[in-house]
Amino acid sequence: MIRQAFPLMCALTIGVLTVALAGTTPSLGAPALSETQQKWLLEAQLGPHSPATHDWAAIEAAARKEGKVVVYSSSSRTPAAAKSFEAAYPGIKVEAFDMGTVEVISKVKEEVRARVRTGDVFFAGDPPTVIYEMVPRRMLWNFVPSELVGLIPKELREPLLVQRLGTRVIIYNSEVYKTPPITSWWDLTKPQWKGKVQIKDIFESGENLSLMATFVKHADHFASSYKEAFGKEIVLDKDCPNAAFQWIKNFLKNDPVFAGSDGDATSAVGRRGQKDPPLATVDYAKYRDVMTGRFVFEVALDVKPVGAVFYQTYLGVIDQAPHPNAAKLMIRWLMGDSRGGKGYEPWFVPGDYPVRTGMLEFPRGAVPMAVLKTKAWTIDPMYAYEHGARILDFWVANQRRR
C-alpha cells in the first residue's frame, strides 16, 4: 500500500516545488500601478490624485475615523513627538517604532514586497536608497502639506519631503580638551587616535555609508587637506583610486571602534570625568545631551576638508498604508511651524535644521545655517547610490576584523 502511495507523494512534492520555484521574486523594477494601488491612491488622494490645497478639516475627520497611525522612524526622538500628537488629536492612537534607518528601510521594503500593510508613515534617512530604490519602485508616496509648498525649496520636497537636514560631525570631550584636539579628518588616521575613534560601522549605518560616499565625491579636497596635515603630497596605495579611499583605508587601519549606535558613541565621548576620551563621528543633534547636562562635548566644525555633512531625513506615506489620512496629519505635525512647533519640538535642537524658509526662532546654542553652510557638504543621493556598494566592499575588505 505504501508503495502505491509513494509515487503519489513524489508527484505532490514535485508539484509543490514547481510552484515554489516558479513563483519566486516578483519584479520590483518601476512597476505599473496595480489596480489596488490605483484605488488606494484615489481614496487617499495621493500621487496623481493629490489636490492643490488640502482640506485639513476633512483629513482630520477621516483620520479620526482611522483612529490610528503607525510610524516607522529612525529617530529615537519620535516617541516624544508621538506623545504630543496624541495629546493634540485625542482619539488617534500613535504607534511610533524607533528602529534605526537600516531597519526602517528593510522593514518597509519587505512589507511592501510581501503586501503586508501595517506601516503608515516612513520617517528615516539614507538618501540613496530612499530616492533611488524606494520612491521609483513606489514603495513610498510623497505628501507635502499644501501650505508648505511655497515655503520649502523644491529639492527638499521633491521627490520626497525632507523633514530636516541632519549633520554628521566629529565630536570631542570638552572637559578634557578646551579646544578641538583635531584640525583635519586626516588626524583620525594618526597613531595618537588609534583605537579611539567611535563610529557606527557603515555596514550597519546608511548615514555613514553616504558620508563616505560624499568624501569620495570630494576626494580632491582630501588630497589637498592631506598636504596640510602631513606637509607632503599624498601617495596613493595601489588599491586606492583616490585620496578619499586612501583616507578610508588609513582610518580603518587605525582601529576605529564600531559603536552599536550613535548614542553609544556619544556617551563614549561625552561622559564626564574621563582622562583619555575618544572622538566620535555622530549626529550633531546629539548635542542636545550637552544642553540637558548629561554629557560634556563639543563639535569640531573647523576640521579640514569639511566640518560637517548634511543629510536628509525624509517623511513619506508608505504604499497602501492602512491609515493614510492619519499619516498626513502626522506628517504635518512632524513638520512643525515657523517657531518650531510642538510636533517638531524634539528636533528643534542644535544640529538639526528645519527645511522651511523664514523660521522665526532658532534653537538655543545652534550654529546658524548660514555659517555652517560654508563649512559643509551635502550628501548627493545619486552619487552615493552609484558608488555605495563599491565603497562598502572597499570598507569591508580593509576593515581590520578579527
Binding site: 504607534e95 514586497r113 503586508v116 519602485r137 545631551d289
Partner: protein, 597 residues
C-alpha cells in the same frame, strides 16, 4: 463490477487509512515548512534580486547567475564576508562546546554517580542556565567587564579594581566562548547525566572484582561506556552554537569580531540578500556535515548504553572528605553563572546614570517613570509603563504558548504516524524530514523563512510581518524535539491499547481523543514545556522576522541594547526570566492537575 474497481477500492482504503492519510498530510506540511524553504533559499542565491542594482548593472531580475557565489567566495570582500566569519564561528563554537563539556561532564558525574549531598536540588539549579536566554550571561558580562571602548566608563570590574579591562577580556572570542559555554554546559550536563545514570553498576563492580582500582574503572569501564554520549553531546552542542546570534553580536561587534550568524544578519539588514542567503546555506551545510559525521562516527556505538529501566543499579562513589568542599564548589559555580549575572542585570537596570556604581545612583526610574525627562533614554517611559514592553510581553507569551501548543499537538501526531508506521518507508521519510530543521541553524532558519515568505507563493499569501510567520518558524524549528518526545511517548502506549479500541468500534478520532491523548498527556506536557522555554527566550530564530508590531521581548532587548538604553534592555531580561519561570510553574501545575484527573 469492472475489474478496476477492487484496485481502486484497495488504493482508496490504503490512502484513507488514518495513519497513511495522516502521514501524507504531515509529509506535505513538513515539505512545505522545511523542504520548500530550503530549496527556495538555495534558488535565491543563484538569481538576481532588485537590491543587486547597487553591486551590478544590466541584469534581469529573477534570471539565473553565479554572481553572488563568486562575489562571496572569490571576490575582494570574501575574506571578510565568509572566510573569517567562518573561522570565527568554528573557533567560538568549538571553544564554547569544549568549555561546556569540561563543565558539564564532571558535574554530570558528581550528580549522578557520587554521594554529593543535595544532588536532586543541585540538579535543578544546575540546569537553570538552560531556561535563561543564552545571551543573559553576555549582557551581564558587559555590565561587569565592559571597558571604555564602549560608551565611556568601564564596567563594574573597572570600578572595583581601577584596572581597565583589556579588550580581549571585554569583547571578542574569549568572552563569547565563556558566555556560550556557561549557557550550553547545561545542555551537555543533561545529555551526559542521562547516559551516566543508565550505566549499570554491575559493570563497574565486575571490574572491581577483577582487581581494577576506582580510577581505572572510571577510565576503562565507565568512560568508554558513556563516550558515545559525550561525543554526541559535543556534536549537538556544537551544531546548536553555530547559529547563535545574541552572544556574538553583543560581545563581538565592539571589536569587529563577526561570526557567520552576525555577518548574515548584517548582510540582510543592508539589503545584500544573496550574500546573506549564501551564508545561511554555508551554515546549513556546516551543521549538516557535523551531524552526519556524528552519525557516521558513533551511530553504531550508541547501542552501548542500554536503557533497560529494569534491574539497573547505580552504586554511588563515596567522596569521603571531598563531599563538602565539592558541594561548596558546585554551589559557588551556580552562584557565579546563574545568580550573579541576574543580580548584575537587576542592579544595572536600577542605575540612573549608566556606569555610576554608587548607591546614590540607584533609582526605579527605568522601571516606573512616566518619562518625559530627555536626559534619560530620550524621555521614554519606564518599562512597566511602556506600551512597547507591554505589547512585546503579550506577543512573547502568545508566541510561546501558541507555538508550544501547536508543536505539542504536531509532535503527538508525528509520533503517532511514525510509531504506527514503523518499518514503512513513509514512516522513515516522516522521521527524517521532521529531523531536518535540526540541521538548520536558528539564524539561517530565519533567513530561509524570509526567502520563503517574503512574497506570496501560489495560494499562500506572503506572511512577512505577520505574527503567523513567527509562529510558523518557531513551530518548524522545534519539530525535531517534539517529534522525538511524540515518538517516545507514543512508544509507551502499546499498540494493543489502540487495537482494543478498534475492535470495540472506536473511530480514529474517538481513539485519538479517548485513548491516545489521555495516555500521552504527560509527554505532551513535557514537550509543551520544552518548547515554551525555548521559544520565549529565542532571539536567533526570530530576529530576522520580527517587525515592530510583532516585536517580542528578546527582540526589544536587542533593540534597546543597540540603541544604548542598556537599563531598559537589562530590565527586560529580568521581566523575560520572570515570565518564563512563571509560565513554567503554571504549565507544570496545570499539567499535574490534568494528569491526575
Amino acid at each position: 463490477m469492472s475489474a478496476l474497481h477492487p484496485h481502486l477500492r484497495r488504493l482508496w482504503r490504503a490512502i484513507t487509512t488514518p495513519r497513511i492519510l495522516l502521514s501524507l498530510v504531515l509529509c506535505a506540511l513538513l515539505i512545505y515548512l522545511v523542504g520548500v524553504p530550503l530549496l527556495r533559499i538555495a534558488w535565491a542565491t543563484i538569481t538576481w534580486h532588485p537590491e543587486d542594482a547597487r553591486v551590478a548593472r544590466g541584469f534581469e531580475e529573477g534570471a539565473l547567475t553565479m554572481f553572488h557565489w563568486k562575489r562571496t567566495f572569490l571576490g575582494t570582500v570574501s575574506n571578510e564576508l565568509v572566510y573569517r566569519p567562518f573561522l570565527n564561528t568554528v573557533v567560538t563554537s568549538a571553544g564554547a562546546t569544549l568549555l561546556a563539556l569540561l563543565i558539564g561532564c564532571p558535574l554530570a558525574w558528581l550528580l549522578t554517580r557520587t554521594d554529593l549531598p543535595g544532588r536532586r536540588l543541585l540538579g535543578g539549579l544546575i540546569t537553570i542556565p538552560f531556561i535563561l536566554p543564552s545571551w543573559t550571561i553576555a549582557l551581564a558580562w558587559l555590565v561587569f567587564f565592559r571597558n571604555s571602548r564602549l560608551g565611556g566608563a568601564g564596567g563594574l570590574f573597572e570600578y572595583l579594581t581601577g584596572v581597565a579591562t583589556p579588550n580581549w577580556l571585554a569583547y571578542g572570542p574569549v568572552p563569547i566562548v565563556i558566555a556560550m559555554g556557561l549557557h550550553y554546559y547545561a545542555f551537555t550536563f543533561i545529555l551526559v547525566s542521562g547516559a551516566l545514570a543508565s550505566v549499570d553498576s554491575h559493570l563497574e563492580e565486575s571490574g572491581e572484582i577483577l582487581g581494577a582500582n576506582r580510577w581505572k574503572i572510571l577510565k576503562k569501564i565507565t568512560l568508554p561506556l558513556v563516550l558515545p554520549a559525550i561525543l554526541s553531546a559535543f556534536i549537538l552542542t556544537f551544531s546548536r552554537s553555530l547559529g547563535t546570534f545574541g552572544t556574538p553580536i553583543f560581545l563581538g561587534r565592539p571589536v569587529g569580531y563577526y561570526t557567520l550568524a552576525t555577518t548574515l544578519y548584517n548582510n540582510l539588514r543592508m539589503g545584500f540578500k544573496a550574500s546573506a542567503y549564501i551564508l545561511a546555506v554555508v551554515l546549513v551545510v556546516l551543521s549538516a556535515l557535523t551531524i552526519y559525521g556524528n552519525q557516521r562516527l558513533i551511530g553504531t556505538r550508541k547501542s552501548f548504553v542500554t536503557i533497560s529501566g529494569r534491574g539497573l543499579r547505580v552504586r554511588l562513589t563515596p567522596l569521603r572528605g571531598w563531599r563538602y568542599p565539592l558541594l561548596i564548589l558546585v554551589l559557588a559555580f551556580v552562584l557565579v553563572c546563574v545568580v550573579v549575572p541576574l543580580l548584575l542585570l537587576v542592579w544595572q537596570s536600577l542605575m540612573l546614570e549608566e556606569t555610576n556604581y554608587s548607591l546614590g545612583n540607584l533609582s526605579l526610574h527605568y522601571w516606573i517613570s512616566e518619562g518625559g525627562n530627555r536626559r534619560y533614554a530620550e524621555g521614554e517611559a519606564g518599562l512597566l509603563r511602556s506600551w512597547l514592553v507591554l505589547g512585546a510581553a503579550k506577543n512573547s507569551i502568545a508566541l510561546s504558548v501558541i507555538t508550544a501548543g501547536l508543536v505539542g499537538l504536531l509532535g503527538l501526531l508525528l509520533g503517532y504516524a511514525i510509531v504506527k508506521g514503523r518499518g514503512t518507508r513513509l514512516s522513515r521519510a516522516l522521521e527524517q524530514i521532521s529531523f531536518l530543521p535540526y540541521l538548520v541553524p536558528s539564524i539561517a532558519f530565519g533567513a530561509v523563512y524570509i526567502a520563503m515568505f517574503a512574497s506570496p507563493l501560489g495560494p499562500i499569501p506572503a506572511l512577512y510581518g505577520t505574527f503567523a510567520l513567527l509562529v510558523l518558524v518557531c513551530v518548524a524549528k522545534n519539530l525535531p524535539f517534539s517529534s522525538r518526545t511524540g515518538v517516545s511517548s507514543m512508544l509507551q502506549v502499546g499498540q494493543e491499547l489502540e487495537e482494543a479500541a478498534v475492535v470495540a468500534g472506536a473511530s480514529w478520532t474517538a481513539r485519538f481523543r479517548r485513548i491516545i491523548v489521555p495516555l500521552t498527556l504527560s509527554g505532551f506536557v513535557a514537550g509543551f514545556l520544552l518548547t515554551f522555554i525555548s521559544t520565549i527566550r529565542d532571539l536567533s530564530l526570530i530576529i530576522l522576522l520580527v517587525t515592530p508590531s510583532t516585536r517580542v521581548l528578546p527582540s526589544l532587548i536587542f533593540r534597546y541594547n543597540e540603541q544604548g538604553f542598556t537599563q531598559f534592555a537589562n530590565g527586560i531580561v529580568i521581566i523575560l526570566v520572570a515570565l518564563s519561570l512563571a509560565g513554567q510553574w503554571l504549565i507544570r501545575k496545570i499539567g499535574k492537575k490534568e494528569a491526575t484527573q
